[in-house]
């Protein structure tokens, strides 16, 4: 089985990331998909599997301004967005931008902080701007947030409300590397962290071009229908308490466009949808508690649904 040909620029970025990340090509691909689609990613995994490394490598590869926010219970919204400070020399308030004023932001352990701070971040993600002391500050473009969440410890956490979860385009898990990969990780750890040696592959302007081009990927009506059918079925599924919204359909389409673009195609095929659906939809549905007790997960439900929706194999008859 041969891998499909990729967009050369993206292939280069991925290769660059792979220099520091061992394995985890799929996570890198998905992160790029989110970046291209101007969306954000929620990573759900235990600490120490290389989340930070991933984001930093990505930021470096596209020559982006990388910021990291470690969310703690006492973090204030102004710690994220920035604050106006009185400058005695100029006799006026001066805005000191917070970490949100970067291009690629790692929001680590987002569920540890208070909802107030969470919503400051989420507002930024949604509006691409923040309002401080009545002044609206535009965020930089591109703006990409990779938030992480630790699924093990729930003590003292503020789980994100469902309404805010769907601000993230994709949600994924990192997972542990396999044996061979982990040995390789150790090998590299003996040397100096290779991340310092990483050189940018493209600059931000080129990234913006990619983001623009991605939008030209053609979405056929059959594909749109297929997307809607999948999303629609989440609403009637027996284990689902609340199905995905139309925003979910849009997200799935955008992600598929980016994914198709990544593979150098100017049209979407159902395979893209099938691959992306669990990542795009699983955090947009709420399971019934019975289903949770039975051990069903949102990913399983989405996979079930995808397995049930017939793939369109002929043109729509008008």
């Amino acid at each position: 089985m041969t891998r499909e040909k990729m967009n050369p620029t993206i292939e280069k970025i991925l290769a660059n990331i792979e220099k520091v990340m061992i394995g985890k090509r799929d996570v890198a691909e998905l992160s790029l998909v989110a970046l291209l689609a101007e969306g954000h990613v929620l990573l759900e995994d235990v600490p120490g599997v290389g989340k930070t490394m991933m984001v930093r490598a990505l930021a470096k590869s596209v020559n982006a301004n990388f910021r990291r926010i470690q969310f703690t219970p006492d973090l204030l919204p102004s710690d994220v967005t920035g604050v106006s400070i009185y400058n005695p020399k100029k006799m006026e308030f001066e805005f000191r931008p917070g970490p949100l004023m970067g291009n690629i932001i790692l929001a680590d352990e987002i569920n540890r902080t208070s909802p107030k701070t969470q919503s400051a971040l989420l507002e930024g993600m949604e509006e691409a701007s923040v309002t401080i002391d009545g002044v609206t500050h535009k965020l930089h473009k591109p703006f990409f947030v990779m938030a992480t969440q630790n699924p093990i410890e729930y003590e003292g956490t503020y789980p994100l409300p469902e309404a805010q979860l769907d601000r993230f385009l994709l949600k994924m898990k990192m997972g542990y590397p396999d044996l061979q990969e982990e040995v390789e990780v150790l090998n590299r750890a003996q040397k100096i962290p290779p991340i310092e040696d990483l050189h940018p592959v493209i600059d931000l302007d080129e990234l913006r071009v990619l983001q623009q081009e991605m939008k030209d990927v053609y979405v056929d009506d059959t594909i749109k229908r297929y997307i809607v059918e999948i999303v629609n079925r989440t609403r009637g599924h027996g284990s689902v308490y609340l199905g995905a919204s139309p925003r979910g359909s849009i997200a799935l389409m955008k992600a598929a466009q980016a994914y198709a673009y990544m593979y150098d195609r100017d049209y979407i095929v159902p395979d893209d949808i099938q691959y992306l659906a669990p990542f795009v939809l699983s955090h947009r549905i709420i399971l019934k508690s019975e289903a949770k007790f039975e051990g069903t997960s949102a990913e399983k439900v989405i996979n079930q649904i995808v397995a049930r929706v017939p793939v369109p194999v002929q043109r729509l008859v008008k």
Binding site: V269, P310, Q314, R315
Partner: protein, 731 residues
């Protein structure tokens, strides 16, 4: 819940039709009047349900409807006085008590109407439930069919078109509901194209089945009519009213004549007399268009041994005294029979408990029955002179009273005029009443009227009993003939009355004690009706229009002194002529419409009969050939496809060609799962054939399908791939 769209409206209309079928027979078969009020109620209820008003509004509107009509039918005074309401409530309470006591017969009419309204209300609710919630109407449809067919079998309700209507409406509703059920289950949105795809075949199928059902010949029932059997189980002759096949016998209610009869040879009475006579029980004078009713009732009493107060034979007629002894089979309240010219009743045994007083209703000339084992009748046998009989040519107030004349020439206002026309035609050239009456009497014997007790129509709502018999069915028994003759003569102003009783019965033996007397047995089969014509100074002269019957009266023809009128072209006195029963009753009612179809069908049948072997053989051969071809389709279909697509140049061809390839691959055994993407499937196929052709072809097809932008000449390039793959599917 469904919307207020056109299909829902259609569903409601169709279910209204189904419900209506339940109400249709009620008017015909029961004494329920004003059925349209109930139909309107159904309509209103369904409309309310369709409009989806709040339940409280529905409740108010329906209640008002019911109250208004109950008031209209059963109460006087203003609706808004409300005093009637309290009496209605009292009535309801009272009737509920009767219900609890299972005293069904005493329920008041308004309560029954009220219950009927409630029943309809429930039906509408059920319909709504079936239509909208369950989306299943089969049970109701099935029940409707059973209801109609049962009524058709056991009563005179003609359900022919009713069944067609029900089937059409029922199938349509079921088809539509099935469509919506599938839509709902599969979570598909209804689109007009979808709807068309479903509804057109549905309509086609219904039309087809109805046409086939109407055109195709119907086999005769393979089991006999169950009604006689059931009736035989439930013994009881005589007093059946005008509905359903009657058991033959004597009944007093004649306001609705018609319908089939079933024979019954249980004895009614024995007679000891010197000869055979017709035995009268009563006469009736008012024809209603459906049957006969008495104009009134005048009960008087007379003493045993007195002259019986009935119209007697005037003294101008020569009379011979006679006596007969009558022994009723049933001694409790038997019918008191007497012959024409009755004089006295005597020797009543046991002696009447009313001290020898006997009651008679002189309007109908019926003698009230009491417990009797035997009685003797003195009567006189008239001997008419033909010239006296021929004297009467018109109404003369000196000979009979105007009131009397009017009473016996009265006819319903809406009597079809063609009866009179026919009568005038028959009696053309005859001068006097007697000759005219004889002409009419003969008319039935000469023309194609058939005596039959079974296939006799019951006239519908707007059909005159006589008119139907004379011009349409021409098939019937004594009631048809006698009523027709009486009515016909009345149209030309001859006073007549309708007589009911028994024919002379069957000769059994000679009386041992009195050698001149013979014993006759009169059974229920001898129940009969005939006509009496009033001739001034001659009295009531009996006539016998019924085919196959004779009633002998003595007439002195002057020169050749014949003793009876049987010399007219009458057959020998046969009691029950055997009517050839091969004709279907269908023939009378099937209109001209069915005839053409029938003819075509017959022609077809003959052709088929002549060539059926050839047909069967070629059909089997054809079926076998098709079967074989289907079995080996893997061997030849691909070649056909290759040939077909070789000459296609259009790039769009790939769309069809690829789908055909998918089908061929599936036949070959490589089935694509519904959720399998084409890429995935192509990989699977390629793995199977160890090629890369399917993947390459698929990537073209993907562009065609998901991009709508196929590179020019795409089909030409990929045709080879396609052909190779098709070849691989050749078994």
């Amino acid at each position: 819940m469904r919307k207020r769209d056109f299909p829902t409206l259609l569903l409601y209309v169709l279910s209204f039709l189904l419900l209506w079928e339940w109400l249709r027979p009620i008017e015909q078969l029961t004494d329920t009047d004003n059925i349209e009020v109930f139909i309107l109620f159904l309509l209103v209820s369904l409309a309310l349900s369709y409009l989806k008003l709040k339940w409280i509004w529905k409740f108010i509107i329906k209640s008002c409807y019911i109250l208004i009509f109950l008031h209209h039918f059963y109460y006087e005074g203003s609706l808004f006085q409300f005093s009637w309401l309290s009496s209605f409530i009292a009535n309801v309470v009272n009737n509920v008590g009767l219900l609890a006591a299972r005293n069904w017969g005493d329920l008041s009419d308004e309560f029954r109407s009220f219950l009927f309204f409630i029943l309809l209300w429930l039906m509408v609710y059920l319909i709504q439930y079936w239509l909208l919630r369950q989306q299943q109407i089969f049970i109701f449809f099935f029940m409707t069919l059973i209801y109609i067919t049962v009524l058709d079998t056991f009563t005179n309700y003609e359900a022919k078109f009713s069944i067609v209507r029900t089937v059409v409406a029922g199938f349509t509703v079921m088809g539509m509901l099935a469509f919506y059920r599938i839509l709902q289950r599969e979570q598909v949105d209804s689109s007009p194209a979808f709807l068309k795809k479903w509804m057109v075949p549905l309509a086609g199928m219904i039309v087809f089945s109805v046409v086939v059902g109407i055109v195709s010949p119907k086999a005769a029932p393979i089991w006999p009519d169950p009604v006689p059997y059931l009736k035989a189980v439930k013994e009881g002759a005589g007093t059946t009213s005008g509905l359903g096949p009657h058991r033959i016998g004597y009944g007093t209610n004649d306001d609705r004549l018609g319908g089939p009869f079933i024979g019954d040879d249980s004895t009614v009475f024995l007679v000891e007399a010197t000869g055979k006579h017709y035995w009268k029980v009563e006469t009736k004078d008012i024809y209603t268009g459906k049957g006969w009713i008495p104009s009134g009732s005048t009960p008087i009493e007379f003493r045993e041994g007195d002259f019986v107060p009935v119209y007697s034979i005037p003294g101008t007629v020569e009379r011979l005294p006679e006596t007969a002894k009558i022994l009723p089979a049933e001694t409790k309240h038997p019918l008191i029979v007497y012959p024409a010219g009755v004089q006295k009743l005597r020797d009543i045994k046991p002696v009447s408990p009313y001290e020898g007083l006997i009651q008679i209703d002189t309007t109908v000339e019926r003698i009230k029955s009491f417990e009797t084992e035997a009685y003797t009748v003195d009567f006189s046998v008239p001997k008419y002179k033909i010239e006296d009989l021929r004297k009467a040519t018109g109404f003369n107030s000196r000979e009979m009273g105007l009131k009397f004349y009017q009473r016996y020439t009265l006819l319903p206002k809406n009597l079809p005029p063609r009866i009179k026309q026919l009568t005038e035609e028959i009696t053309k050239g005859k001068k006097n009443w007697f000759d005219k009456a004889q002409a009419v009497e003969d008319y039935f014997g000469r023309n194609d009227y058939t005596y039959d007790q079974k296939k006799v129509a019951l006239p519908g709502k707007d059909i005159d009993y006589v008119d139907q018999f004379l011009f349409e069915t021409k098939r019937g028994y004594c009631d048809n003939f006698s009523t027709s003759m009486a009515v016909m003569l009345r149209t030309i102003g001859i006073p007549t009355r309708w007589v009911k009783g028994f024919t002379g019965g069957e000769f059994m033996k000679y009386n041992l004690k009195d050698g001149t007397k013979r014993v006759y047995k009169v059974t229920n089969n001898n129940a009969h009706s005939w006509v009496e014509v009033f001739l001034p100074n001659q009295g009531w002269i009996p006539f016998e229009p019924t085919k196959g019957f004779t009633n002998e009266i003595r007439i002195d023809y002057g020169s050749n002194t014949s003793t009876s009128n049987t010399q007219r072209a009458e057959p020998a006195p046969v009691q029950k002529p055997k009517v050839p029963p091969k004709e279907d009753s269908k023939q009378t009612s099937a209109g001209e419409k069915g005839f053409d179809f029938k003819l075509v069908w017959l022609k077809w049948k003959f052709f088929f009969k002549a060539n059926w072997k050839w047909f069967a053989l070629s059909l089997t051969g054809l079926a076998a050939l098709i079967g074989i071809l289907y079995r080996i389709r893997g061997k030849w279909v691909p070649y056909l496809l290759l040939l077909h697509y070789r000459f296609k140049k259009n790039d769009e061809t790939i769309g069809k060609a690829y789908l055909i390839l998918l089908r061929q691959l599936e036949r070959y055994g490589l089935k694509r799962q519904k959720n399998q993407t084409l890429r995935n499937y192509a990989r699977y196929v390629d793995q199977f054939f160890s090629t890369r052709e399917m993947t390459r072809l698929t990537s073209y097809y993907e562009q065609y399908l998901y991009h709508k932008d196929l590179p020019e000449g795409g089909w030409q390039e990929t045709r080879e791939l396609w052909e190779n793959l098709i070849k691989r599917t050749i078994a």
